[in-house]
Amino acid sequence: MLHKTPRRLIPIILFLLWGESAIAQTRTVDPETGSVTWEIQVHGVTLSLTQILPDQARAFYVNRGLPTTATESYAKSCVYMTILRNDSAPGAVHFRLSDWSVVSTTGSQPPIGAATWLKRFEADGLSQSARIAFRWAQFPPEQEYQPGGDWNQGMLSAGLPPDSEFDLIARWDVAGEPFEGILKNVRCAK
């Protein structure tokens, strides 16, 4: 069969097959909350973003003892419950959040990590327990997932105004070899 296929078409066919199986982005809406989830499975890794509505973020952190000034700025910064899982990558998946890109019409920058937020909150005088809860509820700034099911779930701030649209480029490496997964047309909650 293949020997009858013009050679110049083979790369195109392979690209189409790869694209079909590896980058099938899904979008689902939670009927109860209206939160939208975007998910891809690529290179043996699952990546998903679920909108956390501003009121949900406020409620969570007020309950953890964060001052309202701090929760207000964070809640409006386009926050997602983020899951990254190593299902069947060829080895340990290692990433740094600082290598990821939030690409919108206003430019490209990494998601805002926990350390940056905690620095912004310094003037608000967070208690130790509030600081710990905030730090550890965030998606890890750096992590390594072994194959077969290591994963994390945490909050990720895209740092964009409500209702913005962006692409998230997540980058990781497996034994030094770089990989990336792109979630396209992700929208911030209003």
Binding site: T68, P140, E142, G149, D150
Partner: protein
């Protein structure tokens, strides 16, 4: 300030919504694999106060397999895996496998009511790492993270993210470690 006060009632209602939110979200299934640690080293120290106001020292558990689980009540996968830790403890606790659940950054007033909602409610020691210093010492990068310490006191396995701890495969891994 006016806006904040008006919103307070709304937030109280939303606190309930938050508890429901992670349940409704399409969460991945809990896996049941433990990753062997390539070059087993002595576990970091762990000496913390338990919910029963007793000092629990990991060093005193030498000879047992110890499952050390770092968690918090606000962490959805931690909540999901907690019943399976108790099932594990009930199944193999008398065979030399014990569980220590290290809560990070919270206090008894927060943790105790949560444990009452877990079915079955944990009977293994709940320890408090109030300033997260032990978490840092164990090089945890995300919650939950679980380590398995072998009878020789060395780190044997690690699991990042929620697990189904009473899965037969995982229990086999722990019991085999006891035989080594």
């Amino acid at each position: 300030m006016f806006v904040v006060q008006n919103r307070r009632c709304q937030w109280v209602l939303l606190l309930t919504a938050w508890l429901v939110f992670p349940v409704l979200a399409d969460l991945p299934p809990l896996t049941h694999g433990l990753t062997p640690i390539a070059e087993p080293a002595d576990s970091p120290t762990l000496r913390l106060t338990s919910m029963d106001d007793e000092i629990v020292d990991l060093a005193s558990l030498r000879g047992q397999v110890v499952v050390v689980n770092f968690w918090a009540t606000w962490c959805p996968p931690c909540r999901r895996e907690m019943p399976s830790l108790e099932h594990l403890y009930q199944q193999v606790g008398d065979k030399g496998v014990t569980v220590l659940a290290v809560n990070v950054g919270e206090d008894e007033d927060t943790v105790f009511p949560f444990l009452g909602t877990v079915e079955p409610s944990p009977t293994f020691p709940i320890l408090f790492d109030t300033d997260s210093s032990v978490l840092t010492q164990w090089r945890v990068r995300g919650l939950p993270t679980t380590f398995v310490v072998g009878p020789n006191g060395k780190l044997a396995y690690q699991a990042v993210g929620g697990r189904e701890f009473n899965h037969p495969d995982l229990i086999d891994q722990l019991l085999q470690l006891l035989e080594k």
